[in-house]
Amino acid sequence: MSRINRPPVLDGDAISASDLNDRYADYTQTDINEFNTRDAAVDLPQFERDNNRGFLAKVGTSVLIGKQDFYHAAPVTLNGMGTAPSAAYVIGDGVSDTVLGPLGAGLAVVDDTNILRVYWSLNVRPQFTGTPWTTSSTPSAEYQVPHTSAGSTGVATNATCWALYLQWDVTSAALTNWTEVPYQGDFTANPTGTIRGSLLENTAATSVVPAWTTRHDAVDREATGAEVANPIGWRGVSGHYFYTTAMGASVTVYGLRLVVKGPMHPFNFNGRNYLVQQPDIVDGGNITLQHTVGRLGFIINKVK
């Protein structure tokens, strides 16, 4: 900091040019800092703004994704994946992919002073025909609830789902190098056998949609009667992800997009939890996910 710490002129002091110049030179100081300002000295006008970008909120935008179809007249229909691993579907309008980008170079930059926050929503309707959960598969989509005497009743796990997740391109505005965002896997890892999926610790950018829901009567800890399946119907799914340099290096983001895989199911192995593909229950188009429109947006704001 800079202080003026000079005694006043006293009666009897010599009238000298050097003393006067020293006093004036006190006002030529370069290390002005917070100790030279009063409280509330820094107001909005003092904050530097770069080309109308905010000081705290650096950049942000959003786009519509999927297909705009308010009345659900002809939604996009995605069939369940009968093989594993399978490539993910890219959320699009049925003709082409809908992505956020390309963003210009130097626009969406994430460094150690800020955070990239991504939000998405999508109008979805998971559908099924028959009782796919009764089909034998690994992992199974049913629990066998024992009877008090012999035998058991199958009860759907209600855990089968579709997994939407986020990809980005941090290479160039050509958007030819899409990868999963950090802390997100692509559900192709192979923990055992033919199982393909990702550890739950790699699902940070995943939002799941339940494939179906069932209800079952029970008495005294025993499932009884018939199982009734209820369609989920049109609903909105939201998703959220963020990235900071605590998770990786500084990046420039050129594009974001949403992709989906399914049906998926929980699986645990060697003491760890996974979300894995469940291809065995797929038969043609018996399990589908329909979607219409949604929105994908991001904001980069200062955190430091």
């Binding site: 202080r3 005694p7 006043p8 009897g12 100790f35 009063r38 409280d39």
Partner: protein, 738 residues
């Protein structure tokens, strides 16, 4: 030749207004009031708080590593037990609040209570401390108010108890907001008539309960007294709805109750043909933040349409859970046995989370609203310093500006504002009233306000030091007296924007009010104005003197009146071994700080302060008549070998004429014994100071005005003086022609 003599039996303090009273001084610097004689003594200086420690410890090291301590900008000595038995010294530097923990002699480390606190700018006053029976409330207008109670605390030293438990000595003051809601478990009514004739099969779903209470007084020994809702449903279908709501609040260790949580309800109906049972409800109750000692549970009556008070959600007291641990409460209190209603004016969260000032008055804790709410005053319930009713506030008038300080004194609470001074009178029960004392005096230096016995509340205003005397009740006369009427030049030199940095203390032991102010453009106190209480009311004698060279950042007094202060710069401009830092004490030590001696690699004391006394400009009655001053006689106490060199001036010119030097020994008797030369067992006796005249011959040609001066770093006690002069009647010539 016959001489005229002008006698000043008692020399006065500083006066700047012209013409000066002859007894006063143009300059009285670094002098104390000597209590034995009533004269001026030069025996002062300052020393480290720990004079025997060879380093700056503990102000340059903590258990975690070396710290360099910057300016100390707030300081407070809290008296937690009467008689000075337990004093806590709290101070702030570098954004941290420290406790100088002295329970076991010289500490090797400071205890850090909090870090990351706001560092005041040059225009802001430092933290404000208010002692309450529960601890010290610390506010600074930016950080959340905290309550500090640094006792009990264990041993010092690395790894010892004090370091690991210090965090329990400080907590946030007041309530943040409402507690999370109470979560009542769903009640499933008992499905049987009375008498029971069949097994009861559970119909309770997850986390529901069926807790029954016999409604018949003869059923069990204590039957009929417990349970909520209806006991009987004579119809065939479900009916007789019970609808109850619950709320809870936290009680802290100050006895204060916080705001109520939102109402949460549960409801049930009795099955057909039910009889014999009321029900108890299990509640999940929240636990509170640190400082919570109990939870208070409230409940409504049955406000369903089937009961007598549909829609009446008035809350009544159920019970206190006297801990902050238990999570499930079973409520079986019948509506008829409900306690008192919850407060009609609900307690809210802390209404002033950015308060700058606080004070206790009539048992209530008063807080100002802070920088952004600067005209509102909030007050707590009496004796419950964290309990603020939503309606317990006073909105001050728009004229008068924001609140700059609060001071409880006598029967009134004085509110210092930017453009006026208001007073609050009354009490909590009858209500508080605000009146304006004056709207022509502006106090912007909150830490300059001190109550001085016999005088009143003394403070620094923009145009001088004032005292509020008297009172407003009974036959008392209230007055606002300016104490620096003739010392305006001293006040004018205070850096205007930095008035909030001024600090003051009153020492009952020294009978002095010390005011340290930023001077001549400086941004921190570098000059002291001292009001000597014993010199007030002695005719025209000025009771003021100045202090120079005391690097005061913040000042406080201990129980015995010792004045301690924090260094105003510390390591801010450098961190070498010789940089003075931390806490010091103004004492009789004849030194002004310390320097580092590279040779011996140790701290050595600097020399004593330079004390100066320059008399008023005296015209001997008529300034136009030329006088010849021949002698100046100084009346001093014989303090031994200290020397006095007299200098004198004439006609407002400070070109010095120095006279010879004398010792402070009797002029016409044997020297008194002095230290370092007296021989033990050689017959010398202890002898007290004597009042002796030291007459200086002054070679002064004619003058209209005369003034003399002496400066010394020796021990001297100066009582009064005499001036001997003659005059021939010659008058000053006419002025110079332009």
């Amino acid at each position: 030749m016959k001489q005229d003599v002008y006698e000043v039996p008692r020399a006065g303090g500083v006066e700047t207004r012209l013409p000066q009273q002859p007894e006063n001084a143009s300059r009285a610097e670094n002098l104390r009031h000597d209590k034995k004689t009533g004269g001026w003594s030069t025996r002062l200086g300052y020393e480290k708080y720990y004079p025997n420690v060879t380093t700056w410890s503990p102000f340059n090291s903590t258990i975690t590593g070396a710290i360099d301590m910057g300016p100390v900008y707030s300081l407070h000595v809290a008296q937690m037990l009467g008689g000075g038995a337990r004093q806590h010294t709290l101070f702030e530097a570098d954004g941290a609040l420290y406790l100088l923990y002295e329970a076991a002699g010289v500490p090797t480390i400071l205890q850090t209570l909090a870090t990351g606190r706001h560092v005041p700018t040059p225009t802001e006053a430092a933290s404000w401390f208010t002692d309450t029976p529960y601890g010290v409330v610390v506010t600074n207008g930016v950080d959340r108010p905290v309550l500090v109670n640094p006792w009990p605390l264990g041993q010092q030293g690395a790894g010892q108890y004090a370091s690991s438990t210090i965090s329990s000595c400080i907590r946030d003051f007041g309530f943040t907001s409402s507690p999370p809601p109470v979560d009542p478990h769903r009640n499933v009514a008992f499905q049987a008539a009375s008498p029971i004739t069949a097994d009861y099969t559970s119909a309770a779903a997850g986390a529901s309960t069926t807790i029954t209470c016999f409604s018949d007084t003869r059923a069990i020994a204590d039957g009929g007294r417990w349970g909520l809702g209806f006991a009987t449903n004579s119809g065939a279908d479900f009916a007789k709805e019970a609808l109850f709501g619950w709320s809870c609040s936290f009680i802290t260790d100050t006895g204060s109750e916080g705001p109520l949580s939102a109402l949460s309800t549960t409801t049930w109906e009795l099955p057909g043909n039910a009889a014999g049972f009321r029900h108890a409800i299990a509640l999940d109750i929240p636990t509170g933040p640190p400082g919570t000692v109990a939870r208070r549970i409230y409940r409504t009556t049955n406000f369903s349409d089937d009961y007598t008070a549909p829609g009446d959600t008035t809350l009544y007291f159920i019970d206190d859970v006297r801990n902050n641990v238990e999570e499930v409460f079973i409520d079986c209190v019948r509506t008829a046995a409900l306690g008192a209603a919850a407060p009609t004016v609900p307690t809210g969260p802390l209404p002033a989370p950015a308060a700058r000032f606080s004070t206790l008055f009539k048992g209530c804790l008063f807080l100002d609203g802070g920088i952004s709410d600067q005209r509102t005053l909030y007050y707590s319930a009496p004796g419950l310093i964290e309990q603020f009713d939503a309606a317990a506030f006073i909105e001050l008038s728009s004229q008068g500006g924001g609140i700059t300080a609060l001071y409880g004194n006598y029967t009134n609470l004085v509110i210092f504002r930017e453009e006026s001074i208001d007073v609050v009178s009354g009490d909590y029960a009858a209500g508080f009233q605000v009146t304006t004392l004056t709207n022509s005096i502006t106090c912007r230096a909150p830490h300059s306000i001190k109550a001085i016995p016999g005088l009143g509340v003394v403070f620094l205003a923009l145009d001088g030091v004032y005292a509020i005397t008297g009172g407003l009740e009974g036959g008392a006369i209230n007055d606002l007296v300016k104490l620096t009427l003739t010392q305006d030049e001293l006040v004018e030199r205070i850096t205007l924007d930095c008035h909030p940095k001024s600090v003051a203390c009153y020492s009952a032991e020294a009978r002095e009010y010390h005011l340290y102010v930023p001077y001549d453009g400086n941004d921190r106190p570098n000059k002291g104005l001292v009001l000597h209480i014993d010199r007030i009311g002695q005719g025209d004698l000025s009771p003021w003197s100045t202090r120079d060279g005391f690097p005061i950042g913040a000042v406080a007094t201990r129980y015995d009146g010792s004045i301690i202060f924090g260094h105003n710069t510390g390591c801010q401009d450098g961190a070498g071994d010789g940089v003075n830092r931390g806490l010091f004490v103004i004492s009789g030590k004849r030194a002004m700080g310390y320097s580092y001696d590279a040779g011996s690699q140790s701290l050595v004391v600097n020399g004593p302060p330079t004390s100066v006394y320059r008399s008023a400009w005296f015209d001997f009655g008529d300034a136009q008549v030329k006088k010849q001053v021949s002698y100046v006689t100084l009346w001093v106490m014989t303090t031994g070998e200290p020397t006095i060199t007299l200098r004198h001036y004439k006609d407002f010119s400070l070109r010095v004429t120095a006279e010879r030097t004398y010792k402070a020994q009797p002029p016409d008797q044997a020297d008194l014994p002095v230290f370092d030369t007296v021989t033990l067992n050689a017959g010398a006796i202890y002898e007290d100071h004597r009042l002796v005249p030291l007459r200086f011959s002054v070679a002064q040609q004619s003058c209209s005005w005369f003034s003399f001066e002496f400066t010394t770093t020796d021990d001297l006690i100066f009582i009064g003086y005499e001036l001997e002069y003659t005059t021939k009647g010659t008058r000053v010539v006419m002025g110079k022609r332009a």
